[in-house]
């Protein structure tokens, strides 16, 4: 599965558009991490636990989107966009969407 955030795929030609595909996930951090984070808010610096958590959930969202695209019979998702929103204290939603297409070599 080819995933790209551009509209054009170099060296490939878009044969068919199959419409919008999307994937999302809502993740919360566990309380231990929250407590560590509030300590970090005094000293500053990177919150590695949160960075890992968010990139895991992003991979999960992309996997869900890819699943949808595969079900449609696509072999590429183009024009992919990410969006993050914190919906409640300690939980955030990761949303990813794109256009499922069929491409072939030019």
């Amino acid at each position: 599965m080819l995933i790209s955030n551009m509209e054009i795929v170099p060296s490939k030609r878009v044969v068919q558009h199959l419409g919008l595909v999307q994937g999302s996930t809502v993740r919360a951090k566990h309380a231990g991490r929250d407590i560590m984070a509030s300590f970090k808010n005094v000293f500053g610096g990177e919150l590695k636990g949160y960075t890992d958590l968010l990139s895991e959930s992003r991979d999960e969202a992309v996997a869900r989107m890819t699943e949808q695209a595969t079900a449609l019979g696509a072999n590429a998702v183009i024009n992919v966009r990410f969006s993050t929103s914190s919906i409640a204290a300690g939980a955030s939603e990761i949303f990813v969407y794109g256009t499922a297409v069929i491409v072939e070599d030019r």
Binding site: L2, I3, S4, N5, M6, E7, I8, V9, P10, S11, D34, A37, S38, K40, N41, V42, F43, G44, G45, E46, L47, Y50, T51, L54, S55, R58, V80, R81, F82, S83, T84, S85, S86, A89, G90, S92
Partner: protein
């Protein structure tokens, strides 16, 4: 009186450790930026003609950076009089540059020549419904162009 001492201690801790962390982070950012200078990152939407036969793939880089107590305090004072909140400016600058660097590292690991169509996504990770910044997450993503083998 005890509360005042508590705040002063927290400020001193925040100032000391926060400054140290920031200086160290900027040093590593500068070093890695120099090392990755040859990997182009462009916000361009259309690929230049020399990349037209390359393979492409999505690359991402993200980072969550926390404020320190001193920065929060200074920013709270700043909102009284208005103007540039320079303590948060440097925080976001660090986060963005770090996110780009991580994206570049991912692209470089795959042997990419350039990353096009760079997009940013910034979100606030609040702390327990309090006002104030807490920490920020920055995501940088783009399309890496990898030279096709055998061409």
């Amino acid at each position: 009186m005890e509360q005042l001492i508590f705040v002063l201690v927290m400020l001193a801790l925040g100032y000391g450790f926060g400054r140290l962390a920031e200086q160290r982070h900027y040093k590593s950012i500068h070093e890695r930026e120099d090392a990755l200078r040859s990997l182009l990152v462009l916000p361009e939407k259309t690929p230049p003609p020399q990349y037209l036969n390359h393979n492409s793939t999505l690359v991402t880089g993200s980072v969550v950076i926390s404020v320190d107590y001193f920065k929060t305090f200074v920013a709270a004072l700043r909102t009284l009089v208005g103007g540039r909140v320079s303590s948060y400016e440097s925080l976001l600058d660090r986060a963005r540059r770090e996110a780009i660097l991580r994206m570049q590292e991912e692209a470089a690991a795959q042997g990419a020549e350039a990353v096009l169509n760079l997009k940013f996504e910034t979100s606030r990770i609040g702390q327990n419904g309090q006002q104030g910044l807490g920490s920020v997450e920055v995501l940088a993503y783009g399309t890496a162009f990898i030279p096709a083998a055998g061409r």
